[in-house]
């Protein structure tokens, strides 16, 4: 095994150890478990956005739509249909993925800023539906009157509602499956065609890759995982409101991905961690916390164009 593969394995091991042990070390550094849960959930969302941005070369500014559909799908299922966390999760993921699959063909022919603008536009459609359809979605007040349900595994029941550690590990298991699937796809022949499209679309096309179709598949995969994150986000808060669908939420995901490093697999997770921590700390100090996050973002982009993890990797190499 060469040095770079060794570094990669060491980095992966470090990430998983930190995540697995988070409920134990987080309180010692002044954190609390819900903060860790937010990092993992938003990290998954940012990694999904980055599946498109960093590995296919397509910038979506509308992923909050599928994140929000996952969230509303989960919340509304538990509120109106079946009081089951598993069912909520499944419906949420299906809702977000299906919406992505249907909208995909309308946008995949666009590139660059046009793609980004149209993804925002479609995202806003869902926002306004959630905002205006008061008697079903709860409108501006959000979807209330439900909580995540204890997990029934057949042989035992896990109380993820009252036991925060159990809920954290529930999230982490789903995160691990999602992230593992993404890594798997990226290392496959299909994943390499995505990187080919990112690197040089014209060359990819003339190597016999039907670029639009591959971008569509990548888009659907990305929407699927961001709706997983959205469903988890609803379960985490026991609440959904239209802001989960708003375009600024999409912007936050992009900021997280770029902040952490969009060419590195774990970069967006690091970006999400920084974002959540800054938000948690700064919002207790000032109402204008977003301007400080923005300033930090500008500095990172100026001095570390490949994000924080990208800069660290360069230093190690």
């Amino acid at each position: 095994m060469n040095a770079s593969a060794l570094n990669k394995n060491a980095a992966n091991a470090l990430v998983w150890v930190l995540l697995l042990a988070m409920p134990f070390w987080l309180p010692f550094v002044g954190g609390y478990i819900e903060l860790g849960e937010r990092v993992v959930v938003l990290g998954l969302a940012a990694m999904s956005v980055n599946f498109l941005l960093g590995y296919t070369g397509v910038l979506s500014f509308g992923h909050a739509a599928y994140f929000g559909l996952g969230a509303y799908g989960a919340g509304m299922t538990i509120r109106y249909l079946v009081p089951s966390t598993g069912a909520g999760l499944v419906v949420g993921i299906l809702a977000g993925t299906l919406a992505g699959a249907i909208i995909g063909p309308l946008i995949i022919r666009l590139r660059g800023v046009y793609f980004a603008m149209v993804t925002i536009a479609f995202g806003q459609v869902f926002y306004f539906i959630a905002f205006r359809w008061n008697n079903v979605t709860g409108g501006d007040d959000g979807l209330l009157g439900w909580t995540r349900m204890p997990l029934n595994l057949g042989f035992t029941t896990v109380d993820i509602l009252h036991n925060p550690r159990a809920f954290y590990y529930f999230i982490l298991v789903i995160f691990a499956i999602s992230v593992g699937a993404m890594a798997w796809i990226l290392r496959s022949p299909f994943g390499r065609t995505l990187i080919a499209i990112r690197e040089n679309e014209r060359r990819a096309r003339f190597l016999g890759i039907p670029v639009d179709r591959h971008i569509w598949i990548s888009w659907v995969i990305s929407c699927c995982f961001v709706s997983v994150a959205g469903a988890l986000y609803a379960l985490l808060n026991n609440f959904v409101d239209p802001r989960a669908l708003y375009w600024t939420q999409s912007g936050d995901f992009v900021i997280m991905a770029v902040l952490g490093g969009m060419r590195s697999f774990w970069g967006p997770l690091l970006g999400a961690a920084i974002f959540v921590l800054l938000q948690d700390y700064l919002s207790s100090q000032t109402q204008n916390w977003m301007s400080f996050v923005g300033l930090f973002f500008v500095l990172v982009v100026l001095f570390f164009p490949r994000g924080i993890l990208g800069a660290i990797r360069r230093k190690v190499a």
């Binding site: 798997w184 022949p189 390499r192 990187i195 080919a196 003339f206 016999g208 890759i209």
Partner: protein, 249 residues
Amino acid sequence: MSLLQVKNVSKHFGSLIAVNDISMTVEPGELRAIIGPNGAGKTTFFNLITGFFTPTSGSIVFDGQDVTHLLPARRVWCGMARTFQVTEIFPELTVRENLRIPVEVASGLRLRAWLSQADDVKIRERVTELLAMGSLTDKAERPVGELSHGDQRATEIMMALALKPRLLLLDEPTAGMGDQETYDITQLIRRLHKDGKLTIVLIEHDMRVVFHLADRIMVLDQGKFLAEGTPPEIAANKAVQTAYLGQAA
């Protein structure tokens, strides 16, 4: 049967007629050169054959199939591969990765999320073979963007070959190269043609290369067909001399 039949194609960009009613027939195993002064429409003609543009009129038949309106990727599946005037590669990937992608596409694996051990071995072997053929073995692990212009060109040609094409189209393969690099690429093309029995159509400005390689030459001028023939015929053609040297000659 002819491998490629281009019948009376034209391409208009607004009022500009870039390619005006040009026909060309390429036989299997032939090496055809297309030459002409700047602005003759050579690259546009190439782009019509490979599907970068759709012709305004005329048709293109490849191996008995009408491909006039097929997308570029589909024409690749039919057996056409091309390189570009300005090298088109994946600069941040290594040479090996650059070659691996087209090998996987050509093996019909592009949508696969999982590779069997046997497939993986086959792909690696094919990549190794292509690396050797392009004299790139010792640079296999370097990002191709860091390599010399000549090596980038060789990589691009090998990427096209990785697709196992029946027709290889090369757009100015020696553009911007020094004498040694030009010689190396010329030898490579010659080997592909003579030993590999590959049908090749190339656009070239360097007349030494053209006359060294080509079985037949087609000359274009200002979007129009000017002449076609063997290298000695073209060298003796008055119209061609006029087009290249101007009216005074």
